[in-house]
């Protein structure tokens, strides 16, 4: 459930706002909807990882990974036709890690506020 909320709300927010908007969105979503530490982290991580992966594939597949292969060389990968796999994985991973830790932060604030009540 949380993962779906994260994917949908981040998709909408990212269409208008810079990339870092995923952090407050994941934080807020977990603050209201998370049930455990583990669930919060993995929903944030997988939510953003999947969102970014799907969005990247929608752009890079019609491009036949032409650009991803070149950008791989900017990041010191050798000239190769499969750089795109690394680029897609690393991009999604970075999004996922930010999503995961943001959600974790949201969960821990939730736990604090529950304790305080």
């Amino acid at each position: 459930m949380l993962i779906l909320i994260i994917i949908v709300s981040c998709f909408i927010a990212q269409s208008f706002l810079p990339w870092w908007i995923i952090a407050p969105v994941c934080l807020a979503a977990s603050f209201f909807f998370s049930s455990s530490k583990k669930q919060a982290f993995w929903s944030g991580f997988a939510g953003i990882f999947i969102l970014w992966l799907v969005k990247i594939l929608s752009l890079s597949l019609p491009n036949e990974h032409l650009l991803a292969n070149k950008v791989g060389q900017v990041f010191m990968l050798p000239a190769a036709d499969n750089n795109w796999m690394v680029m897609i994985f690393v991009s999604s991973l970075i999004g996922g890690v930010v999503g995961g830790f943001s959600s974790l932060t949201g969960y821990s604030f939730r736990k604090n506020s529950l304790k305080q009540k």
């Binding site: 990339w19 870092w20 491009n63 032409l66 604030f109």
Partner: protein, 814 residues
């Protein structure tokens, strides 16, 4: 109540992560910002298929504009009036090349440090100190006095800015994202900067120093012998025997004792010209009965491509050709009546004047018997991530004193050939209205339109070649040529002596020109503009004659010439230089001193037919050998750490080899033995084979010229992955196909005039500047293979649906 501190720990961790991933660190872009699929670089991954029809509402148009894109995504822009035409050209060039526009302007204006930080400081200082800003401002002010050109420039500017203002950050070209900065609004002066950049590329070389040094070491007799004012072999652009039908203005008299010397300057030899060619043939020698014209300007090749192809159509104009992104109109191209092209003229338009200051305050300098005031200009250079730098540049009436004592950087190659304490007099500082020349050529109908258009042109001087449907052909080495005494500016000049100054200019209508010569063709390949009967002195050295001579030889042999004959000539790898010296070199090799490998190599080169074809091994041997030989002959005398000098030209070296068996120059003065011609030829041959062996192993396919030369086209900012792979190509500096490692034909065009004009062309790149586009380098393969693309020139009515793949309509936004 217990508050869990881990919340704040996680919050801090998240914020730190956001900060780090949003910040540019070293050469890396801000990682998450760059990799984010919604706003980062993935947005530049263009699909192979694009929409076929679309409409954009744009503020600033007066009517409707249709832009038709053909199979190479070349835009054919059709507007209802001129203003809209240049607006749309600006808009579409920005759409394809926005980062290139930004980067090249910053380069020329000395503003790169603003975006790439301290590593560009020396370069920025250099361009500021050379007076690029003065030149651009002078040009802008001058152009703006011309109502029509002002309209063109303003409309073009508005078009670029309309595109920029339509962008969201996600749409910025990938280089902006990598370097993490934003495009800024375009200004008309930026167009002036880009044109001045052409002068910086093509008309900023100078050998004045080394020659002054050589003069002081060897004396005037040796210098006259080794650095003559006209070469041993030449085939000038204006054919020998052409008469000059004008009354020349008086030429200034050379003052006595004009030479100055200098010491302690480390110099890089002036690079041989890049190698452009053009030629046109009268209908009397072509298969169609109408003229054929070819042009291939050579430059340091880059991606995004140097040139941009487009067709511009509006009432009163229908022209096709290439332009430099940032400059309105078409620079090389054709319309239904005429075709024209350019190659560089190596005339001397840059001189150095020794400045005599009154005292250490450097506020006044001597001219004749008077002290003149120095003007101090402060250049402010913003540096990313560092404090702003202020540089004071001293200006005289000659121009800027590029470096005074203590200002010259020690480790910056570009400034090596600049003498300290000298003022720079340079054509690029001159006010000029060069875009008017192209504006008028774009609309030219005949030879007299061409002649009139050329009069506005100042710099960089070009050999303007021309052909018309009326069966006229012509060529004019054209530009602002300072009126000089013979040899003026060959050495450093004295800024305090008024007799050393430029004495006005050669009248523009007396620039060398020829129309419909007897031989039925005209051509140029950067060689001497005219022979010694031309009444004015333009320069003492030009690019060697070999390419020009080969072109003329081939054209003379052609009858019923076709486009394909011209295409083959553009790709011709034959070297007249090799033809001139191969035999004398081989004859002088002492075979008994050779080992087995060397004997094998000698046998290979013996059979060589002078073609620098990629699969040949001989060109690799010959190219390394003759270079080694030239330095072997001259460098023992001419290399002096304290007093660097230039070595005599290839032409002079050839003369020596062909006509002199006993010259003292063959001896290596650094050894006690007396070496002969045979000794030096043999030794350098052995060294050549040895270094080829050390680099490529035993004689094998690895020695092939295509492999040894290794051409590639790099990205403009040398971003790895954004250039081409290594291309297997032939050619040499002395072949018509003058492709080197990094330079080559930056645009190849052949136009066949007639009732229906037919044209062919391509450049080593593509129309798009986006590395994520399929049109970024799509022409490279055909280019490297020596093929041409057929150019689509549509005249009226609806364009051919078979050629048009996409249409964009621009409609005025109310």
């Amino acid at each position: 109540m217990k508050f869990n501190l881990s919340s704040f720990f996680y919050l801090f961790l998240t914020l730190a992560m956001l900060f780090l991933l949003n910040t540019k660190i070293g050469p890396l872009p801000p990682l998450a910002k760059f990799l984010d699929p919604f706003n980062g670089f993935w947005q530049q991954a263009e699909p192979r298929q694009t929409a076929t029809e679309s409409t954009l509402n744009i503020k600033g148009l007066t009517g409707k504009v249709n832009i038709y894109f053909d199979e190479n995504r070349i835009p054919h822009i059709e507007a209802e009036n001129e203003e809209d035409l240049y607006f749309a050209q600006g808009f579409i060039v920005a759409r394809d090349r926005l980062w290139q526009l930004d980067f090249q302007t910053r380069f020329a204006a000395g503003r790169l440090s603003e975006v790439i930080g301290e590593k560009a400081i020396d370069l920025d200082k250099y361009n500021r100190r050379m007076g690029m800003g003065v030149g651009a401002r002078n040009m802008e002010a001058f152009v703006k006095k011309d109502r029509q050109m002002r309209m063109v420039l303003d409309a073009y500017t508005a078009g670029i800015n309309a595109y920029i203002s339509s962008l969201k950050p996600k749409d910025y070209p990938i280089e902006f994202k990598l370097l993490d900065y934003k495009p800024e609004n375009w200004k008309p002066i930026n167009s002036a900067y880009l044109l001045k950049l052409m002068s910086a590329t093509l008309a900023a070389a100078s050998n004045d120093f080394y020659l002054s040094n050589a003069l002081s070491k060897f004396g005037p007799e040796v210098i006259k012998d080794l650095f003559p004012n006209y070469p041993f072999r030449e085939d000038p652009i204006i054919p020998t025997g052409t008469t000059w039908d004008f009354d020349p203005v008086p030429v200034p008299k050379a003052p006595e004792d004009v030479s100055l010397t200098t010491t302690g300057i480390k110099l890089n030899p002036k690079e041989e010209g890049l190698g452009s060619n053009n030629w046109a043939m009268s209908g009397s020698k072509t298969s169609t009965g109408y003229p054929l014209l070819a042009n291939d300007p050579h430059l340091e090749m880059t991606l995004p491509a140097i040139w941009y192809q487009n067709q511009l159509t509006a009432p009163g104009i229908n022209v096709y050709g290439v332009t430099i992104p940032g400059s309105p109109g078409v620079i090389i191209g054709f319309n239904k009546d005429v075709a024209w092209g350019v190659t560089n003229v190596g005339s001397d338009v840059l001189d150095w004047y020794k400045i005599t200051f009154k005292d250490d305050s450097k506020n006044e300098y001597l001219v004749g018997k008077e002290w003149k005031k120095v003007k101090k200009v402060v250049e402010v250079i913003k540096v990313r991530g560092q404090a702003t730098i202020s540089e004071t540049v001293l200006y005289t009436h000659h121009g800027p004193i590029v470096y005074v004592e203590g200002e010259k950087p020690t480790a910056f190659a570009k400034s090596n050939n600049i003498p300290v304490g000298y003022a720079l007099k340079w054509i690029a500082h001159q006010p000029s209205n060069d875009i008017k020349t192209f504006y008028e050529l774009n609309r030219a109908k005949n030879h007299s339109d061409y002649k009139a258009a050329l009069l506005h042109y100042v710099a960089p001087a070009q050999n303007f070649i021309f052909a018309s449907k009326e069966n006229d052909i012509a060529i004019t080495p054209n530009g602002y040529f300072p009126l000089k005494w013979k040899g003026q500016g060959k050495f450093l000049l004295d800024g305090s002596n008024p007799a050393h100054e430029w004495q006005g200019r050669v009248p523009a209508d007396q620039n060398p020109t020829v129309k419909n010569p007897q031989r039925g063709f005209v051509s140029s390949a950067n060689q001497f503009s005219a022979d010694t009967t031309y009444p004015y002195y333009l320069h003492w050295e030009y690019t060697g004659y070999e390419r020009g001579a080969r072109i003329n030889r081939q054209l003379a042999d052609m009858n019923k010439a076709t486009v394909d004959d011209f295409r083959q000539l553009q790709n011709d790898n034959y070297s007249i230089h090799a033809e001139n010296v191969k035999d004398v070199l081989i004859k002088n090799v002492n075979v008994s001193a050779l080992n087995a490998r060397e004997k094998k190599a000698l046998a290979i080169i013996k059979d060589w037919t002078y073609r620098y074809d990629p699969k040949e091994i001989s060109p690799s041997i010959f190219e390394w050998w003759h270079k080694r030989l030239a330095s072997g002959i001259w460098e023992d005398e001419f290399s002096d750490a304290k007093n660097p000098m230039v070595i005599p030209s290839r032409d002079r070296t050839v003369q020596l080899l062909l006509t002199d068996d006993t010259a003292k120059w063959y001896d290596n003065i650094k050894t006690s033995a007396i070496e002969t011609k045979g000794d030096i030829v043999t030794t350098t041959f052995k060294e050549t084979i040895d270094s080829l062996f050390k680099t490529y192993g035993e004689i094998s396919a690895k020695w092939e010229w295509g492999n040894v030369k290794g051409t590639n086209v790099a990205h403009l900012a040398k971003i790895s992955g954004f250039g081409t792979k290594t291309l297997y190509t032939g050619g040499s500096k002395t072949s018509v196909n003058a492709i080197s490692q990094t330079t080559g034909p930056s645009w190849k065009m052949i136009v066949s005039l007639g009732d229906k004009v037919e044209a062919y062309g391509l450049f080593p790149g593509g129309e798009s500047g986006n590395p994520g586009s399929f049109y970024y380098d799509n022409m490279v393969e055909n280019w490297a293979g020596g093929k041409l693309n057929s150019l689509y020139f549509y005249e009226k009515g609806k364009p051919d649906a078979k050629r048009i793949k996409q249409t964009i309509s621009l409609i005025s936004k109310k």
